[in-house]
């Protein structure tokens, strides 16, 4: 293993870490009551991630990463789809029977799922028209 290999791995980790940090900084700052500082921290960290890519010079991510991303996205969609198809009808039936109460925290997720699939459907339609 040479220096280039180590550098590549370090830069990839730095890139992912900085993006994760940007989200964490924003969330923590908002919760702590400093939203503007959070936004500034978010963009600073995001800028750092961009600079890592530029500093690396060569490709930091390539076709293999894109293929892995596609597989992960497909699995995420399947998980949400199957989970929703099982969970929401079951829970709705149980609520209707008076067995359980609908958890309030589940409502945003229930609303998010059709938005997610609507977006997916729109992009799938566009991709089919383009190919």
């Amino acid at each position: 293993m040479n220096v280039t290999a180590t550098t590549e791995r370090t830069h990839r980790r730095a890139y992912a870490g900085l993006w994760a940090l940007s989200g964490l900084v924003l969330a923590v700052s908002v919760v702590a009551g400093y939203p503007l500082a959070g936004v500034a921290g978010f963009y600073l960290s995001a800028l750092g991630a961009t600079l890592v890519v530029r500093r690396h010079g060569g490709p930091l991510f390539d076709e293999r990463d894109r293929r892995l991303d596609r597989a992960a996205a497909a699995q995420t969609l399947s998980l949400f789809g199957v989970g929703s198809a099982v969970l929401f009808p079951t829970l709705t039936a149980l609520v209707a029977l008076g067995a359980v109460e609908w958890p309030a925290w589940l409502t945003p997720i229930a609303l998010f799922v059709p938005v997610l699939y609507g977006t997916y459907g729109a992009f799938a339609f566009l991709e089919r028209r383009r190919s």
Binding site: N2, T4, A5, E8, R9, R12, G58, P59, L60, F61, D62, E63, R64, D65, R67
Partner: protein, 64 residues
């Protein structure tokens, strides 16, 4: 997919990083191809074959 990239690299004294830079991908991708954990795209397979001055089927063996 089975391939002889390590042998071809060794003949030229190239590292995985050298080959990755030559064909425009990451070293991790070259490593994954050599370990038969990733099948390259047709475009990358052509680039690799072109780099070694041979045909794709000389480098990759889908039957093995």
């Amino acid at each position: 997919m089975k391939n002889d990239l390590p042998d071809r690299r060794a003949e030229r004294g190239e590292s995985q990083a050298d080959l990755a830079e030559a064909v425009g991908v990451t070293r991790q991708t070259i490593n994954a191809i050599e370990r038969e954990r990733y099948d390259p795209s047709l475009e990358l397979a052509f680039a690799l074959a072109d780099h070694f001055g041979c045909r794709i089927e000389d480098v990759f063996d889908p039957e093995a």
